[in-house]
């Protein structure tokens, strides 16, 4: 099956007063239609820059992006802003962490939703209103007709997130980018929103990319997971394989350091000492070498490439856990 | 020295302002004719003429001497009023921002009411009420200057005070203030050791920008006739000489250049300090 989104060797550099910051160092990722992929990483991993770059949200003269982004076979990385709008919002949609800043505080919800429906899909005002109510019902927002008249600040965090999701799926996109969609929400609301996203995916046949730092979130809602560290993908596997057949020591260390609500109090929590590698430096070694419990000299002298272990599982390590 | 490794703008601004301060404090020692005495033999001579390096105006007043005197007045008013205004404004603003309640209500009301008046109108009114009406009588020049300084200070207090108050409210909400309380620090100590040192940098930076504005304001007031004795400050020099721009253009341009350079130097410092503060307070 041909890929919906094919990213090849995406690299993003920033010019800063400290030097050139290599935020993303050559990332490739393919996403099939209807697939759910999680991109997991901590701060400094480059996951946010990577997702923003893919969404075309990085602008400015100090940003240098190279690489190829193909959507349904069309190269979109070099489109100008007018052409980009053909894709973003209609074929590819995005939702972000803080719905408060994504929604216009001085316009009513209904007006904001109708606006994009009228402009993008050429609907009339009443058609747009009906569709808006339809969408709000789809995202299980209570009393949708009343919600249309409200302003963003009158809704709770969970409800605002639902409105944002409703606006995102308005044009029946083929793919949804969710950038830390539940980080700012309470855990019970987070569960509701994740279930909603899973249901919508099934109903609309959307592909989904979830960018998060929370391995717990992706464990239950993704088909594949890409783990990012130091601007690179260090492991890419199906969700089951990532947890049961972990190959990259960083992934293993990450999983071990997460406290679990279903495990009894044990001994010390396993932590990863040290700090992420300096993004302004070129890398001649493995980025995780300084913090890896299994590191040997080769890890400090050479930079590992991604190795394909078969079954869609690739990792970036000379000495993977469980052998090659 | 302090100037090492600083950008060019910093060095130039420091140089110009140092020159101004030097002129203001020691310029009277130079062997020049008095700033308001006229040389009947050299009316309206151009720059670099014999005996008058910056030329004279139509009354024969030596421009260099006038400018040096003007430095003292213009810079003096700016520095004194900004310093007083910042001090008093900071005091009131920090009190209002930290204690809130009725103290804040009263102080904020004072701020807002004063700021509601158009600045220039308010200054004109204050000068008219409190200063002597005759600017030409030497005996009453000083009171005019004093009134002007205090009037400008009066207008600056709410402006800087509101800034200080907003900054205080913002800093007081930070967790380290809670930490200070949890350590048993008294309110006064918290204000002096934690709030004020953090509010001060942004206040100082705005004060520099304000100083530049005051110099221009003083010029405007002079043109409106509410300044000090004509020719005593840069602004009043400009006001008096601009009518003769076709005859003695240098007498207009010299004060203009001086005002422009000084304002630019002040602005530069203000911006420089502000970006320094922003860099420290923001994180990547």
């Amino acid at each position: 099956m041909s890929d919906l989104l094919k990213i090849t060797d995406l690299a993003v550099d920033f010019d800063t007063s400290y030097g050139v910051l290599h935020a993303v160092r050559g990332v490739s990722l393919d996403i099939a239609p209807g697939e759910s992929v999680g991109i997991v990483g901590e701060s400094g991993s480059g996951k946010t820059v990577f997702s923003r770059a893919t969404m075309g949200l990085l602008r400015g003269s100090s940003v240098h992006r190279t690489g190829q982004i193909l959507f349904e076979g069309t190269e979109i990385s070099s489109l100008d802003s007018k052409q980009i709008r053909e894709y973003w919002g209609t074929k590819i949609a995005m939702i972000f962490q803080d719905p408060m800043t994504a929604l216009n505080p001085v316009r009513r919800i209904g007006a904001q939703m109708s606006e994009s429906l009228i402009k993008r899909l050429g609907m009339s005002k009443s058609e747009a209103k009906d569709r808006a109510i339809e969408l709000l019902t789809l995202v299980k927002l209570p009393e949708p007709e009343l919600a249309l008249e409200k302003y963003a600040h009158q809704l709770s965090g969970g409800m605002r997130q639902r409105v944002m999701i409703a606006m995102a799926i308005a044009c029946n996109p083929k793919m949804l980018f969710a950038d830390e969609p539940t980080t700012a929400l309470d855990v019970t609301v987070q569960a509701q929103v994740l279930e909603l996203l899973a249901d919508l995916r099934k109903e609309l046949g959307m592909a989904m990319v979830i960018i998060t730092h929370d391995l717990g979130v992706v464990a239950g809602y993704t088909d594949r997971i890409a783990v990012m560290y130091g601007g690179e993908i260090v492991e890419l596997a199906t969700t089951t394989d990532l947890f049961t057949d972990t190959k990259m020591p960083y992934t293993e260390a990450l999983i071990k350091s997460i406290p679990r609500v279903d495990r009894k109090r044990g001994s010390e929590l396993s932590s990863i000492e040290g700090m992420p590698p300096d993004p302004t430096k070129e890398r001649a070694s493995c980025g995780f070498a300084d913090r890896c419990p299994y590191a040997v000299q080769k890890c400090r002298d050479e930079h590992p490439e991604l190795v394909d272990a078969g079954n869609g599982h690739s990792y970036r390590c000379f000495f993977p856990i469980g052998g090659k | 020295m302090v100037l090492k490794n600083k950008p060019l703008g910093f060095k130039l601004s420091t140089a110009w302002l140092s020159l101004c301060v030097l002129m203001a404090t020691l310029g009277w020692m130079l062997p020049l004719p008095k700033w308001n005495s006229s040389d009947a033999d050299a009316l309206g001579v151009t720059m670099f003429s014999k005996g008058h390096i910056l030329g004279t105006d139509n009354w024969g007043i030596d421009q260099l001497s006038a400018m040096i005197h003007g430095t003292r007045i213009s810079l003096g008013i700016a520095v004194v009023s900004v310093t007083l205004g910042a001090f008093l404004g900071a005091f009131l603003g920090v009190m209002a921002g930290y204690t809130r309640g009725w103290i804040d209500a009263i102080i904020s009301m004072y701020f807002n009411v004063t700021l509601a008046f158009p600045t220039l109108v308010l200054l004109l009114a204050l000068v008219a009420i409190f200063a002597s009406p005759d600017p030409f009588n030497p005996g009453t020049t000083l009171p005019r200057m004093v009134v002007l300084t205090f009037a400008i200070t009066f207008v600056l207090i709410p402006f800087l005070g509101r800034l200080a108050r907003a900054a205080t409210v913002s800093w007081a909400g930070r967790d380290f203030v809670l930490v200070a309380k949890s350590l048993g620090l008294k309110r006064r100590t918290i204000l002096l050791q934690h709030i004020v040192p953090n509010v001060l940098p942004s206040l100082i930076s705005v004060s520099f920008l304000g100083a530049g504005l005051i110099i221009i304001l003083e010029g405007g007031l002079s043109i409106l006739g509410a300044g000090g004795e004509p020719g005593s400050s840069w602004g009043s020099l400009l006001a008096r000489n601009r009518g003769d721009i076709d005859l003695t253009p240098h007498t207009t341009f010299i004060p203009v250049v001086a005002i422009a350079l000084t304002v630019m130097a002040f602005n530069y410092f203000g911006e420089y300090l502000r970006t320094g503060i922003d860099n420290r307070d923001s994180r990547i």
Partner: protein, 329 residues
């Protein structure tokens, strides 16, 4: 106003901190005052880590600050070493403060940006005049080392030069300077990366043992709390729902809210199936809480009794209490 009761308070062994019927109200515009903390009682025993867990708006942060009287307390008592802190005058309260310290979620905002780290950590000693100059410096070094920082590289720098995790270590060092009895941690690891979280939690455990601390750990993260606490208290909209030991609370929660909370926590394991007890609706507004049991509007087991009578804390298994008319089995 009735609370969920004090059935869970015991007199022996004597707790080092006992909070009874604490009410914290704050004004909300022209409306009636909001009760962020509505008649809560709890106690902290020596060497214990009591976790207070709840979602946003439940009042847990306000509770922590109220115990230290960093916010105004409307009524109730906070008894430490036999003395009710709430009744003390300003100066007496000051004197008691060194016994309690607090660390906060935003580690960077917890440090005064214009002071050096060395000065920040030394400040408590300077304020309370503990020891000679040289002794104070030595103490600062000792504390920085114990939190895993190199004093020489850290003392003369300012907070903005450090990461969130490092700032949290500095905060912990500062909090321990006066060797307090009680350390209240308000979401100390919530804004840190997972790998750093583990580092900080380990440091807290170490410090607890080394300095004989008792901790009150406020958090919304049940997984973190299960890993490090000895007792967990669940709050909802200013009230206590359940108090139990971590294993009991997480494996067999009695309160329906606790059950929903436990079910909602994402587990980093794709083979673990999630329960489907996902809460519907949103938390009601604290300005107008539901009558009787505050959780009844979202509870599948709610009956008329829940609307008329506020449930009291009752012992279920030894040492565990739940405030519910129809607790789960």
């Amino acid at each position: 106003m009735a609370g969920t009761g004090k059935a869970h308070l015991r007199d022996s062994p004597a707790p080092i901190l006992r909070v009874e019927n604490l009410v914290i109200e704050y004004k909300s515009g022209r409306n009636d005052p909001v009760q962020a903390v509505s008649n809560i009682s709890l106690e902290l025993h020596d060497g214990e880590t009591l976790a207070i867990i709840g979602e946003s708006g439940c009042g847990k942060s306000t509770l922590g600050k109220g115990i230290l009287k960093l916010v105004d307390v409307t009524s109730g008592s906070v008894v430490f070493n036999g003395v009710d802190i709430n009744t003390l005058d300003k100066e007496a309260l000051r004197q008691v403060r060194p016994n309690f310290q607090m660390i906060f979620q935003d580690s960077i905002s917890s440090l005064d940006p214009h002071l050096t780290v060395g000065r920040i950590v030394r400040q408590p000693l300077d304020i309370w005049n503990r020891g000679e100059e040289s002794e104070r410096d030595a103490k600062v070094d000792e504390l920085l080392v114990s939190v895993g920082l190199d004093p020489e590289r850290v003392k003369n720098r300012k907070p903005h030069e450090f990461s969130g995790g490092q700032c949290q270590r500095i905060s912990i060092a500062r909090a321990l300077t006066l060797e307090p009895k009680v350390l209240i941690c308000d979401e100390p690891v919530s804004s840190l990366d997972v790998s750093i979280q583990a580092q900080i939690l380990n440091i807290l455990q170490e410090m607890k043992v080394r300095y004989g601390l008792s901790l009150i750990f406020i958090s919304h993260d049940l997984a973190v709390v299960r890993a490090i606490s000895t007792r967990i208290l669940v709050m909802y909209l200013g009230k206590v729902c359940e108090i139990a030991d971590p294993d009991t609370l997480c494996d067999s929660p009695r309160h329906h809210y606790t059950h929903a909370l436990v079910s909602s926590v994402p587990v980093p394991d794709p083979t673990v199936h999630r329960h489907s007890a996902i809460l519907q609706g949103e938390p009601p507004s604290p300005t107008n809480p539901p009558s009787g049991c505050r959780f009844r509007t979202r509870c599948a087991a709610a009956t008329e009794l829940c609307a008329t009578e506020e449930p009291q804390l009752r012992e279920t298994t030894p040492g565990n209490y739940v405030a519910c008319h129809h607790p789960r089995d």
